[in-house]
């Protein structure tokens, strides 16, 4: 089936540094999402993105976070600067459109901030 690819699968970074997480969504999808999952806890919505804009974001989407998808390339989540509490698995997702369409998830990027 359709796949969402996330690169890298693991990332270790020093606190205060910048990190960019990359996502290659399903090719014809129009809506993109980032979710955060701290180890052993539930999935939490961060942000959704459509037509080049952030449409909705949660309280977890701090000012240090940003997303973009320049020219149809990777959909990226950038954290600058990183903090220890940013350590989590970040899942990218995409959907075609509409509320009753399936949302496809990537395998996640495990971010460890040290």
């Amino acid at each position: 089936g359709p796949k969402v690819l996330q690169i890298p699968s693991h990332q270790i970074i020093d606190m205060g540094q910048m990190v960019t997480l990359n996502c290659d969504p399903v090719s014809n999808h129009l809506y993109f999402y980032w979710y955060k999952q701290i180890l052993g806890q539930q999935m939490e919505f961060l942000v959704n993105f459509y037509n080049g804009k952030v449409m909705e974001k949660s309280k977890l989407f701090k000012d240090q976070f940003s997303v973009e998808r320049p020219d149809g390339s990777y959909f990226t989540l950038k954290i600058q600067p990183t903090a220890l509490e940013d350590s989590a698995v970040y899942f990218c997702a995409s959907s075609l459109a509409g509320q009753n369409t399936e949302v496809f998830f990537g395998k996640g990027t495990r971010l460890t901030v040290v």
Partner: protein, 115 residues
């Protein structure tokens, strides 16, 4: 407060047993319900969804779920589990009225199937 509640954090059964994983929600209006499975160290894999029509929906690998508006529930069931069904199962609600509706996840239920 709008919530998705999965009352059982862990469920343990033997291979071949039937299982029901419970999901209740408190959102009103039109909603889109789904279940996902997450094997250890992997991402979410879609199992099934409900938006309208027949309240019993079939998914992959023999899973089915039943929507009940009166109970605000969307419980997941399987008649005969296999050891490979061991994973964490997440119920998710997508609120209607917007194509951008985000998924609200429950806390997950870890299913352990003893061979």
């Amino acid at each position: 407060t709008q919530t998705v509640s999965q009352s059982d954090a862990h469920v343990t059964v033997f291979e071949g047993d039937s299982v029901e994983l419970r999901c209740n929600y408190s959102y009103g209006g039109s909603i889109y319900l789904s279940w996902y499975i997450q094997h250890h160290g992997h991402g979410l894999q879609f199992l099934l969804k409900y938006y309208s029509g027949n309240p019993v929906v079939q998914g992959v690998n023999g899973f089915e779920a039943e929507f009940s508006k009166s109970d605000s529930s969307f419980h997941l069931r399987k008649a005969s589990v296999h050891w490979s069904d061991s994973a964490v199962y997440f119920c998710a609600v997508r609120v209607g009225g917007s194509a951008l509706g985000r998924l609200h996840f429950g806390a997950g239920t870890q299913l352990i199937v003893i061979p």
